[in-house]
Amino acid sequence: MVALRFTANPGDRAPRARLALWALGLLLLLTGAVSLAVGAAGVSLPQVLADWLSGDGVGLRERVILTDIRLPRLLTGALVGASLAVSGALMQGLFRNPLADPGLIGVSAGAGLGAICAIVLGGVLPFGGPHLVPLAAFLGGWGVTMILYRISTRAGRTSVATMLLAGIALAALAGAGQGVLIARADDAQLRDLTFWNLGSLAGTSWAKLSVAGPVMLAGLIAAPFLARALNALSLGEAAAMHLGIRVQRVKSVAVLAVAASVGAAVAISGGVGFVGIVVPHLLRLAIGPDHRFLLPASALLGAVLLIGADMVARVIVAPAELPIGIVTALAGAPVFLWLLLRKRGLVDL
């Protein structure tokens, strides 16, 4: 394989991975800049920069569009994309299964149930406000993860197989709960639900980002500390333990990091699918499965993809907007199917 002869030291893909990290970092900056310049309202980025540098002052309209609409949206997109991709990579490493995903073990479904609860029942609650839906989504994701963890942990040891199966059952249960609530919803709520279910960054604001952002950031910061342990875990739990890894602690930290960042991501953006499964997959093909590089690279590529998908969602039917979940599904589902077929040896690409 060409990929493996990339360096003078055969089998060592670290130099190649470092190069990829730099390239992805540059790509993220570039995508971010383009995303700031693109939108329904015409704002010329070079003009804004020129005005700002010459000291003339940036026009109020431009300033509002850039700093109050596009910038929080850009940062939210980057954080959500990075969180979903890194959570996918963490789950796949933990379950030693390249098809594992937070969507699979019910974290996303739990968050969805929380959000729908808030939308449908929110009106009858004496409290509420703009943070109710994100908060409920976060609690839903967190709750499912905790139940799952309790079910699959006996005497301090977590059974990954039990967790996977229980996760599928809990996801189905949360889905049924969503169905019951949807049946009770009125027309206005149904529109909200559909929009939220498909995923969107349209409602983002500095206020919402200030709630969900730190949680997602915390998950992203925790992830690299698990890299060496996840590498050892790909040999199995016993082998990892013999290599000096505290397996139980790694499992707990990984599950908490995923619950927190996916809960927060779903809370702020709704159901954005396939990022967590496609991004780590593509990166493993390019730079290998070493988690020391896979996790940061997933964060960067996840951010790039979500910012890109958001641009497409904003521009393609402007001045209206497509839900971003539709864009990621349209792009992600075929890639996922291709990966499955490739794994089964049905297509040779």
Binding site: M1, L4, R5, N9, P10, G11, D12, R13, G93, R96, N97, P98, N231, A232, L233, S234, L235, G236, A238, A239, M241, H242, L243, G244, I245, R246, V247, R284, G288, P289, D290
Partner: protein, 260 residues
């Protein structure tokens, strides 16, 4: 010295180890043998802290259950029976996982994986994908990783330990001898080796001490020449076995008998 006292292990409410004592010395190759289901692998898993047990296991004077995993990893390495690998790592990336603690920080760390691979006869395999190796090659690559983890058999006067679960099961006869010599060399250099074995003749050839198990208990223990008798082996394995002495160099070999 590795010492287990009154060791009990139960799996799914079934008692696998029924109060056995076990001793292995640094500087010796100790082999655990016995029929299928006699508890050999369970004993090894208890000795390495992988399975919860009742009783006591002491490794060079310290209680195994009080050791932190990262400290234990500096004192012993374990080669399990089978390990399906989840992701497409290269052979170099797998072997390098064995670089832990002080070895990882040493000046020669970059060169050690290559040398470990050379010792198991896998020179030039660094860039191959691990999952594309044959079963025997995978087992030897894992052995290289395990050797790397305890590269120096003695550190600061303390022996390090190798635990091998059927290290030659998937190997051809040439590589069986190579791996057994590696284990023997590690013991000769002052380290301790405990290996679960199926092949009685290889055990007779290489082991310094043998622990013969039957039904969760130790049936006999001592030098191979003392443990391997017609009577003991035939009882343990439930079939007629004849122990003979080959003409040159002494030692024994075991000949299965066609008629029961």
């Amino acid at each position: 010295m590795l010492q287990a006292l009154d060791l009990h292990v139960s799996l799914n409410r079934q008692e696998i180890l029924r109060g056995l004592d076990f001793t292995a010395h640094a500087g010796a190759l100790t082999c655990i043998v016995g029929p299928n289901g006699s508890g050999k692998t369970t004993l090894l898993k208890a000795l390495t802290g992988e399975l919860p047990y009742a009783g006591q296991v002491r490794l060079d004077g310290t209680d195994l259950s009080r050791q932190r995993p990262e400290d234990l990893a500096q004192r012993r390495a374990v080669l399990p029976q089978s390990m399906p690998l989840a992701f497409p790592f290269t052979v170099l990336e797998i072997v390098r996982l064995g670089l832990t603690g002080a070895t990882a920080l040493s000046a020669q760390a970059a060169d050690l994986p290559r040398r470990a691979l050379a010792r198991v006869g896998l020179e030039g395999y660094e860039g191959r994908l691990f999952q594309q190796l044959s079963g025997g090659e995978q087992q030897r690559a894992h052995l290289a990783r395990v050797l790397l983890q305890v590269w120096q058999p003695v550190v600061d006067g303390q022996p390090r330990w190798l635990f091998l679960d059927e290290p030659v099961a998937a190997l051809d006869i040439g590589h069986q001898l190579q791996v057994m010599r590696l284990a023997q060399d590690f013991a000769r250099a002052g380290g301790g080796v405990v290996a679960v074995m199926h092949d009685l003749n290889l055990t007779a050839l290489f082991a310094d001490a043998v622990c013969l198990m039957q039904a969760g208990r130790v049936l006999a223990t001592g030098a191979p020449g003392a443990v391997f008798t017609d009577q003991t082996l035939s009882t343990a394995y439930g079939c007629a076995l004849k122990v003979s002495t080959p003409p040159p160099g002494g030692g024994v070999y075991i000949l299965p008998q066609a008629a029961a």
